[in-house]
Symmetry: C2
Subunit: 587 residues, 2 copies
């Protein structure tokens, strides 16, 4: 198993055996360990001492279902803390089957006027991967929907692509790392935290992988792995949320629009209300029905990456049947829709397309546009104005740069006090005042406000793994802590987080996840062991953040959420600071 280190200061690389101490790491566990061990916590996120780490999950590249995820880690230009963001893509599988545990990008060219790409291939003679550099300057300053076909044309259809867009090129704190989906779209993003700008600051425009001849992922105990794989598959195929033609496969993640609106927890018009009168018009059901009407047939969703059996990725089609964008996720739909007071699916999908085209995180982009609306730059509900602001971000005008710098910074620049961020990262599509547990996750996770770090929505709203009152703060710190620790392991396994619904409700599913990992690694982890492993990852991340100056005082929701009641429940965020402090205090 290998570590690839690419040094952009002098465009050299090394392929080294993966360090023994890291041998059981993967995904988030790997990226956070490398960042914590190698990046000075006070280094500038866009300077030469930050590193960008890619790591496939433990079971990525195997036959484990829904496991083609890659974690990307580094010090975040958005939060100033440690960051892991992950994406589902063939790129993850391709890196894994080349037996690469981590690909670490280091250094920075002094001359920032040229950009470079690397192509990673399997060197059969040497029995290890090799790296070639190429000039990629010509691919800058372009819409990624135009760039990807050029890259495929030049390097062949069999490659997978990682890269950044205009946002990363311009050092925006809102810039993701883009990966190809199964239809070669630039649509799968390790979106949050500005890691596109870290890649951009290193002027590494693309990492291409051609896995031809790669040996595949070694599996230590094939029988155990196979047993785990079967349990996981059964759970996913059985659960209402993840089964074929189930909630996610039919309506995509946007199935949550109506559910969260009903719960009064769909943040609307920059988090000034918990219900949006236009929710039904942008909900997952509306996407399904609208596509049916426009295409003349039912369209179920597709897989974003090889081997996914949940297949939740949707597309939205224009009146003439032409695809506008894929994927209109719940978060994107909400951020660019309800949170901006916009209820027009065609315009929302166009905004998703523009985020993909320019390399922006849709959540951060929508939250920032909503703050700009609050500042009076354009009115709430002005979808054409919002589309224009996205173009300004792509072009790098002064207003575009303000918005590209993320919600917290844009709020400062525009003089807005009502800014829904934690640790500089915009809150996603669940209102802390209406769902207290997720507010605790937002406040305390090492990542900045992030629903995926501890998705307590499962029990608080969806009735998965029990049912808890979303409005009550009672017991929610412990709930968030448990979810955060388990999630840190799921994010290390290589599985998509959406397996959580099935494995939390179906005990054999959880066993399956652990058996898959034990099968691949030859370990003997118990269910408790993997949660403890997750907790150990959180502790590493936390220590990094504290050394970077991000401590307890940063584990808070913004002041306005503690003083302004949110309709329709008219509640404030009433979780005491002591409960917030207990999340890591008692980890």
């Amino acid at each position: 198993m290998w570590f690839i280190r690419i040094n952009m200061s002098d465009r050299t690389y090394r392929v080294e055996p993966a360090p023994e101490t890291y041998k059981n790491f993967g995904g988030r566990g790997m990226t956070s360990s490398v960042v914590a061990d190698e990046v000075p916590p006070l280094s500038h996120p866009l300077g030469p001492n930050n590193k960008l780490v890619f790591s496939p999950g433990i079971v990525t590249g195997t036959a484990a279902p829904t496991s083609a995820r890659v974690s990307v880690g580094g010090k975040s230009p958005l939060t100033g803390g440690i960051k892991e963001a992950n994406a589902g893509t063939s790129w993850a599988r391709d890196l894994a089957v080349m037996q690469v545990k981590a690909l670490v990008v280091e250094g920075q060219p002094k001359d920032q006027s040229k950009s470079w790409g690397v192509k990673v291939t399997w060197d059969a003679a040497a029995g290890k991967p090799k790296v070639e550099f190429f000039d990629a300057t010509q691919f800058e300053d372009q819409d990624l929907y135009q760039v990807f076909p050029q890259v495929y044309k030049q390097f062949g259809d069999q490659i997978s692509i990682a890269g950044y867009g205009n946002a990363g090129q311009r050092n925006y704190a809102n810039s993701g790392v883009v990966f190809n989906d199964e239809s070669k779209r630039p649509s799968r993003y390790a979106g949050r935290g500005g890691l596109g700008a870290v890649m951009g600051s290193k002027r590494l425009k693309f990492i291409l992988i051609d896995d031809k001849g790669a040996p595949g992922v070694p599996v230590a105990d094939k029988a155990l792995f196979e047993q785990g794989r079967k349990k996981m598959t059964d759970a996913l195929m059985k659960h209402d949320i993840t089964k074929p033609k189930g909630a996610l496969n039919s309506y995509g993640t946007a199935v949550l629009i109506n559910i969260m609106n009903e719960a009064g927890g769909l943040p609307t018009r920059n988090f000034t209300a918990g219900r949006f009168e236009g929710a039904a018009k942008i909900a997952g059901e509306a996407i399904f029905e609208g596509n049916k009407q426009r295409l003349g047939k039912e369209l179920y969703n597709h897989a974003c990456s090889p081997g996914c059996i949940i297949q939740c990725s949707n597309t939205w089609h224009a009146a003439d049947g032409k695809e506008i964008a894929s994927c209109v996720e719940y978060e994107s739909d909400w951020a660019l829709g309800a949170n901006c007071g916009i209820d027009n699916l065609d315009d929302i999908a166009e905004m998703v397309r523009l985020c993909n085209a320019y390399g922006l995180d849709t959540i951060e982009a929508g939250a920032t546009i909503a703050v700009a609306m609050q500042a009076g730059v354009i009115p709430f509900g002005d979808s054409k104005g919002a589309i224009n602001l996205l173009h300004e971000m792509g072009k790098g005008t002064p207003m575009g740069r303000i918005l590209g710098s993320g919600t917290a910074t844009a709020g400062k620049v525009l003089g807005v006090t009502h800014v829904p961020t934690v640790k500089g990262q915009a809150m996603p599509a669940y209102e802390p005042r209406a769902v207290k547990g997720i507010g605790i996750t937002y406040a305390t996770t090492t990542m900045g406000a992030d629903h995926t770090a501890g998705y307590t929505i499962a029990p608080e709203i969806l009735g998965v793994s029990g049912k808890q009152d979303p409005l009550s703060p009672e017991g929610k710190a412990a709930l968030s802590r448990a979810f955060q620790a388990t999630t840190a392991f799921v994010d290390s396994s290589g599985h998509c987080l959406f397996i959580a619904f099935a494995i939390l409700d179906i005990a054999s599913g959880f066993e399956g996840m652990v058996e898959e990992a034990n099968g691949v690694l030859g370990t003997h982890w118990s269910n408790d062991d993997v949660v403890a492993l997750g907790a150990s990852i959180l502790k590493k991340e936390r220590a990094f953040n504290e050394a970077a100056g991000i401590g307890k005082a940063a584990d808070r929701v913004p002041e306005f959420m503690k003083t302004e009641p949110l309709p329709p429940h008219n509640q404030v965020f009433d979780v005491p600071d002591s409960a917030l402090d207990s999340v890591f205090g008692e980890l």
Copy 2:
């Protein structure tokens, strides 16, 4: 002695006896105590829970020389921490002689479309101050050089004015609180840390004072006070730096340009060098000689405020003899000059005038423009372009808003890594890599990078109170700590910090300062006591910052200063973190 509390939520006020526990506080000691006691550390600086506190010094309003200073305090929108900035102005004296220990502005109007002013007068019948509100909306969106004459016309020539300009109105983190000088110019600023925006967020455009009939400052021990006053006066009149026609009276603070340039510590072109080839053209000597040539006579400097015997405030005159601006301080001259690669005094003075006109801190403005130059917005040395950028700030264009948000935020938005700030505040005109002690002050003071918080330049460069090697880090943490503690008392006394040269070199001067304070208050403080008092103020400030999330990790200079050697000495900032931590660790 009184506290005036003005509530901008409902435009009411209270005049209350000053709390017994605060009776010996003044200036910074008062503002920092009120902020630490009353402002929630995690409140939004521009929200209703921040407070803006004005407090004259302990001896302000008496016959003590050079003591008409007022401290302004609050939570800073620039640093996110506690802030005190002070200015010399008749406003300080007028508040003091009304026996007001503190004027506290609280709350915030929900309707931000209208602005208000208050006029504070002495109510002889009631034997205490009174406050009247007036609509001040008409004064917004104007150059302060146009506004001040309108205000004097409406309210009479005898008033003193405190207020904010376009920068504060637009919520800029770079916005000062403006006060009148002795010639009714809008030129005296509590400039640093964005307190103008705090005032702006409360929509309190002006605080006017008419001290007619005010009883004056009570002096507990007149003989002791008089003894102290005489010692202080003698020291100031004797010391080469502060005496009439001495360095400050002749050349103003800009006398430091040549000195710092010679020392290799004049930050040039956004802190990329320590020497500026155009230094002699913008130095205090050049101002003196230029004025002489253009006016046909020697022009010595004037007092910024009543009772100042140092009189260091200069003016710069155009070729036709007309005044361009007052005052071209060393810091302004450097920030808008050398640091931007600009060597044209007429253009620098015009930029100073624009900062005064729009309500911007000159240091932060110059540092931000230099970062914009680094980003390629305009080239280094482009003085006309820089003037245009100041107009953009005044007008509130998107680029103007970026720059008005201060150096650190502008650096983020413009994607620049070479950003010379600590705790979000731009470094002033002394290079930490060339003068290690001042770097320790920048790094550790509660204020964000601030030379006035612990001016170790005195021994490191000027040979005041001994002579220390500026390039050596040895012993400098202790030096900075001692200077910071003493300074916190000087900033409480009401004296201008420039008394420091005389009182550090002349022991009777220091005694004089202490005796003046004891004379006014009836206290029996020793020299050691006042330093301990200063230390206790620092500890309060530090505790506030820690609760606001600003701890040890924020006590660092930017990464580039530890990795990039600075010409001509080619040194990095080599003070170990342990030394930085010892400043407050051993306080």
